[in-house]
């Protein structure tokens, strides 16, 4: 049984293909599950990873096969941390239209970032929007 302070690290580079990252996401979820993370919390982590990585591939790298997505994760009994970076031109996260305002409610795009922020404890952007760093902390006792 890992101690509370044990942190497992995973890092990899993925091609900019919208189907290439599914195994990576499943690996992270399986490790968290083995650490005792509950199904309802894993749902949110699944969502945050899915949206972050697909944004990096689709909007960041624009599915350019020459560009990679760089992933780092740290997993423990009470903390999930991930840094996802693309090789695109960057963007201003504050300039993304609010998907949930009445005038944008029926527009198909722009919901990923909202979901990531809702499910994570903290979300930060760096390197002009090319990197997203997110963290989920469990309360004591899970």
């Amino acid at each position: 049984m890992p101690s509370k302070n044990t942190t497992e690290k995973i890092a990899c580079e993925l091609p900019s293909s919208l189907s290439a990252y599914l195994d990576f996401v499943q690996e992270v979820l399986a490790k968290l599950q083995s650490l005792g993370w509950k199904k309802e919390v894993l749902f949110g982590i699944h969502m945050a990873l899915e949206e972050t990585i697909s944004n990096a591939i689709r909007h960041g790298n624009k599915e350019d096969p020459q560009k990679k997505v760089h992933l780092e994760c740290e997993l423990s009994l009470t903390r999930f941390w991930a840094k996802i970076c693309d090789e695109g031109e960057g963007y201003d996260p504050d300039a993304v239209p609010d998907c949930c305002s009445p005038e944008n409610l029926d527009q198909p795009g722009g919901r990923g970032l909202r979901l990531i922020r809702a499910y994570m404890t903290t979300v930060e952007h760096s390197d002009c929007g090319r990197c997203l760093i997110m963290e989920k902390l469990l309360d004591e006792g899970g």
Binding site: L22, F43, H46, M47, C100, D106, R111
Partner: protein
């Protein structure tokens, strides 16, 4: 109706009940196919009363939400009624976070939807 790969449609009286065949709606190609199969129901087949049953769905991405929003728009343009049902608490939370619980008409069960269509 052509071969459906992403949804199953059953008709009772004038209402079409649609179920998803995938438990996880993530794969971009599958989402593309799903969208086309849904759009055909209102644009090609001109169905006017639709129940979208989420009982099988365990996970869906924002790309899938985008297709559902477009489907809702197309349904409204065709003057078709669309009701979503049997949404799990986790999936309902996704709708609530993105305010889509205000865009779509949502009922607990198929029976609730059939009662008002």
């Amino acid at each position: 109706m052509g071969n459906l790969r992403r949804i199953e449609v059953s008709d009772s009286a004038s209402v079409s009940v649609i179920r998803f065949l995938d438990q996880k709606i993530i794969d971009p190609e599958a989402i593309q196919e799903l969208g086309q199969e849904l759009f055909d129901l209102v644009e090609r087949d001109e169905r006017k009363k639709l129940v979208l049953n989420f009982e099988n769905v365990e996970f869906l991405s924002s790309a899938a939400l985008g297709k559902l929003i477009t489907f809702d728009k197309k349904a409204k343009r065709s003057e078709a009624q669309l009701i979503l049902t049997n949404i799990s608490p986790e999936i309902f939370q996704v709708f609530a976070i993105t305010n889509l619980d205000k865009l779509f008409q949502i009922k607990d069960s198929e029976a609730d939807a059939l009662a008002i269509l």
